[in-house]
């Protein structure tokens, strides 16, 4: 067997494992932001993109950042600017995937998003819609550090992962009455807000940058077998402080 088909076989196996992992999570009790973060991390681990993120529309129709492969400020800014303009905004409005093979060519189309994305080190972008029975809920965004975008063979798989993200959003078990799609989406958006509130609190209590504050929340949740959203809520309620989590001031 030649090297190319070896590589393809390995990748296929890893892809199958990734989908099995995601499915296993969906039938258990899970935290929605944690799940979506893991999903975007899988997208990166499987080498579909250098970074990935998920945006969801809120009650005002604005695209809000939900989760990403890394919680770094410059990356989060790239997602946030897209509630005004950018590939995710276009994808959300049209309901169709948006492919950008070279960001050098989109300065006129997205005058704010393009320079930010380029200066962060990205050269091409793909946005795929998160759809539910004809309604577009949001978008998944992939960033690559080289021009060309995703090969067409990868695009179907990436759309499938976005569909899994949609399924995850609608499977939040802790809501005992919210059988409506609206309720599920609202809850996911509020989980993210709660996380940001907690990050702010921890960053001030322990003098940490926001990315490190997120890691503190996440590692505490994992090591104590708690949901990320429950830890965030405890921090905001004042029941949990940075000193409880780091053991030092």
């Amino acid at each position: 067997m030649d090297q190319a088909s070896d590589i393809a076989a390995v990748r296929e196996r890893r892809l199958v494992e990734a989908f099995v992992d995601l499915a296993d999570t969906l039938v258990e009790d899970f935290d929605v932001v944690e799940f979506l973060s893991s999903l975007t991390e899988q997208v990166v681990a499987l080498e579909f993109a250098s970074e990935a993120g998920i945006l969801l529309a809120d009650e005002a129709g604005d695209l809000q950042f939900l989760a990403a492969s890394h919680e770094r400020t410059h990356l989060l800014e790239l997602f946030q600017v897209q509630n005004q303009e950018g590939p995710c905004q276009d994808c959300f409005t049209t309901g169709a995937p948006v492919e950008v093979v070279d960001l050098e060519d989109t300065h006129a189309r997205w005058p704010h998003f393009t320079p930010k994305a380029l200066s962060t080190g990205f050269r091409s972008v793909q946005a795929v819609p998160m759809r539910l029975r004809g309604t577009v809920l949001g978008a998944m965004n992939l960033f690559l550090t080289y021009p060309g975008g995703l090969p067409s063979t990868d695009q179907a798989v990436v759309q499938a992962m976005a569909d899994v993200a949609t399924i995850g959003l609608l499977q939040q078990r802790e809501l005992h009455r919210a059988h409506t799609v609206e309720g599920q989406l609202q809850h996911a958006l509020h989980s993210r807000i709660s996380l940001e509130q907690a990050k702010g609190i921890l960053s001030e209590q322990a003098n940490l940058p926001m990315g490190a504050a997120f890691e503190l929340l996440r590692s505490h949740a994992r090591s104590h077998n708690l949901k990320l959203s429950d830890v965030a809520r405890s921090v905001v309620d004042g029941a949990l402080a940075a000193t409880d989590m780091t053991g030092r001031r």
């Binding site: 809120d58 009650e59 005002a60 129709g61 604005d62 809000q64 950042f65 989060l76 946030q80 509630n83 005004q84 809501l175 005992h176 009455r177 919210a178 409506t180 609206e182 309720g183 599920q184 609202q186 809850h187 509020h190 989980s191 993210r192 807000i193 709660s194 996380l195 940001e196 509130q197 907690a198 990050k199 702010g200 609190i201 921890l202 960053s203 001030e204 209590q205 926001m210 965030a232 809520r233 905001v236 309620d237």
Partner: protein, 230 residues
């Protein structure tokens, strides 16, 4: 986008003839969503919800929930997501409230939590005599009314409540991570709740003629330290 919806809600509240802002909010919410009545409740501590404003049509529903300590507003506040009951006769969730509400002539109730992340203040409830779904448009309006009510109560709790309606709501500014992070930071700096910190940030932005987002960015970057509102 839906900035128009937000602007419409503000206009509807401003256009109400009289009453306090919470009362006008209830009246506008009932009218906009074609509801018989509306009521606003706040968490009074100990898991109790206290009605702070209601239209005439909402009085029965509010009184029942308050007397019985259960109902859609209670559930919405507790779980943090909207509770929609298009037909009270078909819903067995509240063994005491359900039948009592039907007996009072209520057919449907839709309750929306006043919530922003982990900040949970209470609920907005819409009451109807006829059974039936709320509908997507009215649902979307109700979410904006609930958001507005939350911002209103946070502002009223602050030391210097704003006088203009548009001070209470960021019509032009979208929710961003920095705003919520800054609320967290300021809550620690001033020793206040995250909700109060959001109100302080908003008051500061308005006083300085700046956007809430700009102020939040400065707070997160440690370029700005906000004091208690003066």
């Amino acid at each position: 986008m839906q900035q128009r919806r937000i602007a419409r809600v503000l206009e509807a509240v401003a256009a109400q003839a009289d009453g306090s802002v919470p009362e006008r909010l209830c009246a506008a919410a009932a009218q906009s969503t074609e509801s018989f009545g509306a009521g606003l409740t706040l968490d009074a501590g100990n898991g109790l919800l206290q009605t702070v404003a209601t239209t005439t049509g909402g009085q029965d529903g509010e009184r029942l929930q308050s007397d019985l300590g259960e109902g859609p507003a209670y559930t919405a506040h507790r779980i943090g997501t909207p509770v929609l009951v298009p037909d009270l006769t078909l819903d067995a969730s509240w063994p005491a409230f359900g039948p009592a509400a039907v007996e009072c002539g209520l057919g449907a109730i839709f309750a929306f939590p006043l919530r922003r992340g982990s900040v949970r203040l209470g609920a907005l409830a819409l009451y109807r005599e006829a059974a039936g779904e709320l509908g997507d448009e009215h649902h979307a309006d109700a979410l904006v009314y609930a958001r507005f009510a939350l911002d209103l109560f946070l502002a009223l709790q602050s030391e210097n409540p704003p006088e203009e309606l548009d001070q209470l709501f960021d019509v032009g500014s979208s929710s961003t991570a920095e705003i919520h992070q800054a609320s967290g930071i300021v809550s620690v700096q001033l020793g206040i709740t995250v909700g109060s910190a959001l109100a302080v940030l908003r008051a500061h932005a308005y006083a300085e003629g700046r956007s809430l987002r700009g102020v939040a960015l400065d707070v997160v970057a440690r370029r700005l330290r906000v004091d208690h509102d003066r």
